[in-house]
Amino acid sequence: MSSMAGIKTAETLLNLDHICKGYGSGPKQLMAVKDICLSLKAGEFVSLLGPSGCGKSTLLRIVTGLNTATSGTVQYRGQTLKGVNPYATIVFQTFALYPWLTVEENVEIALKARGVPSTIRQDRARKLIDTIGLDGFESAYPRELSGGMRQKVGFARALAVEPELLCLDEPFSALDVLSAESLRGELMELWLNKSIPTQAILMVTHNIEEAVLMADRIVVMGKDPGRIVSEIQVHLRHPRHRKDTSFQHLVDSVYAAVAGQTRPETESLGTAPGQPGATQRLPRALLNQLAGLVEKLSDEGGRADLYRIGGELSLELDDLLPIVEAGDLLGFLSVQEGDLLLALLGQTYAEASILARKEMLAGRVLRMPVIAWIYESLRRNDNHRLAWEYFLNKLQADFGNRAEDQLDIAISWGRHAELFAYDDDTGELYLE
């Protein structure tokens, strides 16, 4: 059973009530996270899982008080949070160590900030460095250490202040596979043996296996806007093994939950930019990547496990999902219960000649409102050219600070489908 088995009525540490975080204002306000309700009990290890851009890191920063919510309340132990959460610390993705301080000084400075006198500080820092297995490296500078060792220092620093709530912001994603695996094991050992006074862990990740391996509960988030789409309890006994069938099953179902949410809340493709109503965002994928995926699917006989195909193409979830989403939007494939299904259109595409492919692609891509709108605007213009800024300004109404990104994707798609292109010298888009 999980670590919370022994606790019958665990107290609630953290409670998020209808948290929203928006950027900009007015009707076209961009919601980073919307209407998040979540609570965390003592003894729990909860993982926030979702594709990039779903606002999971933003949520973590709201929990720790590094960022503030636009609306809704954060309560910690029944008290509404104001400023930085004094019970929480973060382990950062990029370690966030001070390069000019030694390992020991990096750990000590967290204690210094809490007003711990210097003699006690040294003792505690040394002990922690021992615990995480970095003894002998006290006087080394971070740049002398490997990535895995740096993150150990990150953990030691966070644990030094004995936080009740330990927040992890993709702590293993910048490490090589082996270091990440061993560090995960060490953290779980400390946590399960209760050798650290931490009461609860909240980990942000986009790695499904990692979440299943470590967490008691997985909170799956979707994007546009960032929201909670499902919660999955993990009842597997520790230590968990990746090869177990029960583990594999759970990974599959979590994969299905995540992939099922590549579609935004609104099902239709939406209206053209500038028109009332939401506009379908273009996923951040290259069309030649999509072509590759479609061919791979065709080779596999038209159906493949999403999780497995990601592994075979060595694509992270964050890289695979946008491609899948693009395929889905263009009607080349669909997702069913964690499986990728090649649609008839996709099959035809895979078998078509290069020329025929271009034509098919042009037709399908033009269904996307952003692309169609750019294409029409260029066609209506007398010399079939319009300034890049013209499109950017209009797109900003719909996409805010993501407008430039959207325009870049649109140009890349338009070029690939030979609909329109961009002239860097004049800064204009023009019809092909």
Partner: protein, 572 residues
């Protein structure tokens, strides 16, 4: 070779805004204030005698270094406060950054006459001259240090910031453990730049002689000028030797050790292949002295950290915005400032209306003449620095051979050599004209050379090999690879260089040498003559015309080129 590369800081959009106009009016108002004071300046100013005896040299050198040091510490303090305020307070930033941007492109030397005259109206003559020199050096040093500090503070990686917030650092601890270390390397590099700039201005400020106003300070600059004026070649050589010695000593005992020490503050997580080293630091860090100081300093540090930590341990989240209500005193201050600007600039304009059309024509012609000199010095500098720089930059052996030599030669402030140039050239026809261009050239060519070397060294090896394989002719090779590759570096070098050239015009176009006055057509000459004859309206108009023209040329010409270079030709 990357350590040579100096990149000016520019705001994202090079437009001329209402704010810039307001800042210029403010400058006009300040200049008017200075001129108003200058009305009461003593009519005859005569400085102390400068002794040419070699035994006076150590004392003079010490005085010059002392002035530099005082001005530098003032600049550093100013930079830390100003940069910090601009970085941390968004509403202060809206005022502070545009002001800084204008100030850094103003030719500082053009203020020298006004500063000297106005201060001598308030203080006794030698104190006034002393303060003017320090003010002048300060204004030449402060801006780029401030920009560097501001840029560092605003580019601290967000996770490092968040870490200091989540562990609840006090503002002091955050400054000491995060912000200052992060900014350290930039501060040191820019301090070195500022010192070499400072020498240029000190040499000019120690002796400024127009008409009955003979401002001078005992120091290396005045020694050199006096020696040249008297034709005392031995003294000239001795003075130059001591100056070079001082520059080299400072480099070896202050800047190199500082740089080597500051290497630990770099943010890159990999060990670099070319780490700065210093023999002096090596000796120092092995000595008991360092140990002794460290043991004295660390309890003090501890005490500071802990006492600040108690006070404001509750830091606001970086994302959380401060209450944006403005207190009444801020509004009152802004209104007062605005009124002062309006009054001052109105009076300045009123004063300038007393000028005749002939004066304005003289200013216009002078401006064009100086502009022509600035550009010809730039073109001459390019003609030799581009081939030489490319040769050095693409050849490691040549680079290691020439680098120390070039560094020492470049460290000699051009203004120190100017008297010698005069000695040699004044008898030739059009000599002052040639000497003026030569001074501009000496002050500017090094910036260009260093940048070209850095640019040539940055051209990727693969591209050079590809060009070799294609068998391009020399002309094509330069056209397709070398010129585009070093273009951004030429532009950045030219911007700094032309700034230096404008400054040089003030001291180069009008000189009193060996009891005779030499002048050529130019706005610098007009400013100097106006100072000498006490024509304050002309002095004000000349300074303003020069300042505004240089800012406009920067905005309309250089910054556009710079942006083009950054967008099109950056090899990254």
């Amino acid at each position: 070779m990357k350590q040579f590369y100096y990149k000016p800081a520019f705001p994202p959009k090079p437009a001329f805004t209402i704010g810039d106009g307001l800042i210029l009016l403010g400058l006009a108002a300040i200049l008017y204030g200075g001129i108003r004071l200058a009305f009461d300046a003593p009519l005859v100013v005569s400085g102390p005698e400068i002794s040419l005896s070699p035994s006076a040299l150590p004392w003079y050198a010490l005085l010059s270094v002392g002035r530099m040091a005082i001005a530098y510490f003032l600049s550093l303090l100013f930079s830390l406060f100003y940069g910090y305020a601009a970085a941390r307070n968004p509403s202060a930033r809206k005022v502070l950054m545009p002001v800084l941007d204008v100030l850094q492109s103003v030719p500082i030397l053009s203020f020298l006459p006004v500063v000297l005259l106005s201060l001598s109206a308030i203080f006794p003559e030698h104190i006034a001259t002393e303060i003017s020199a320090i003010v002048l050096i300060f204004t030449s040093q402060a801006w780029n240090i401030t920009f560097s500090f501001y840029q560092s503070i605003t580019t601290i990686p967000s996770e490092l910031r968040e870490a200091s917030a989540i562990f609840r650092f006090s503002s002091w601890l955050r400054f000491r453990a995060l912000e200052l270390p992060f900014a350290a390397i930039g501060l040191i590099w820019n301090s070195m730049m500022s010192w070499s700039g400072g020498w240029f201005f000190l040499m000019a400020a120690e002796i400024f002689h127009v008409g009955s106003h003979d401002f001078r300070l005992p120091g290396l600059g005045s020694y050199l000028k006096t020696a040249a004026a008297q034709g005392n070649l031995m003294a000239v050589l001795a003075g130059t030797g001591v100056l070079i010695l001082v520059v080299v000593l400072l480099d070896q005992f202050i800047w190199r050790p500082l740089l080597a020490w500051a290497d630990k503050f770099k943010i890159e997580m990999v060990e670099g292949d070319e780490e700065p080293s210093s023999w002096f630091l090596d000796i120092l860090s092995r000595s008991w002295l360092m140990d002794f100081f460290q043991r004295r300093i660390s309890p003090l540090n501890e005490w500071l950290d802990m006492s600040f930590q108690g006070k404001d341990a509750t830091d606001i989240a970086p994302g959380a915005s401060l209450d944006s209500k403005r207190p009444a005193w801020q509004i009152a201050l802004a209104v007062t400032g605005l009124l002062a600007i309006i009054y001052g600039s109105f009076m300045a304009i009123a004063l300038m209306t007393t000028l005749s059309l002939k004066d304005w024509i003289e200013l216009g012609v002078g401006l064009l003449a100086t502009l022509a000199r600035v550009f010809s010095s730039l073109v001459i500098a390019m003609l030799w620095t581009i081939p030489v720089g490319v040769a050095i930059g693409t050849n490691r052996r040549l680079a290691s051979l020439l680098q120390p030599l070039v560094q020492v030669v470049a460290a000699i402030p051009a203004t120190a050599l100017f008297p010698m140039l005069l000695l040699a050239l004044l008898r030739v026809y059009g000599g002052l004209n040639i000497a003026a261009i030569a001074l501009m050239l000496m002050g500017t060519q090094w910036y260009l050379l260093f940048n070209v070397i850095a640019g040539a060294a940055a051209i990727p090896q693969d591209l050079r090999f590809t060009t070799d394989l294609l068998g391009l002719s020399v002309l094509d090779r330069w056209r397709t690879l070398i010129i585009p590759g070093i273009f951004p570096y030429i532009i950045t070098g030219s911007i700094t260089a032309s700034g230096g050239a404008w400054n040089a015009s003030i001291v180069a176009e009008y000189v009193e040498f060996g009891g005779k006055t030499y002048a050529t057509t130019g706005i610098g000459a007009t400013i100097a003559r106006a100072t000498g004859t006490g024509n304050y309206a002309l002095l004000l108009a000349g300074t303003l015309v020069l300042v505004i023209s240089v800012i406009l040329i920067n905005r309309l010409f250089w910054q556009r080129l710079y942006r083009l270079a950054e967008e099109r030709y950056r090899m990254e």
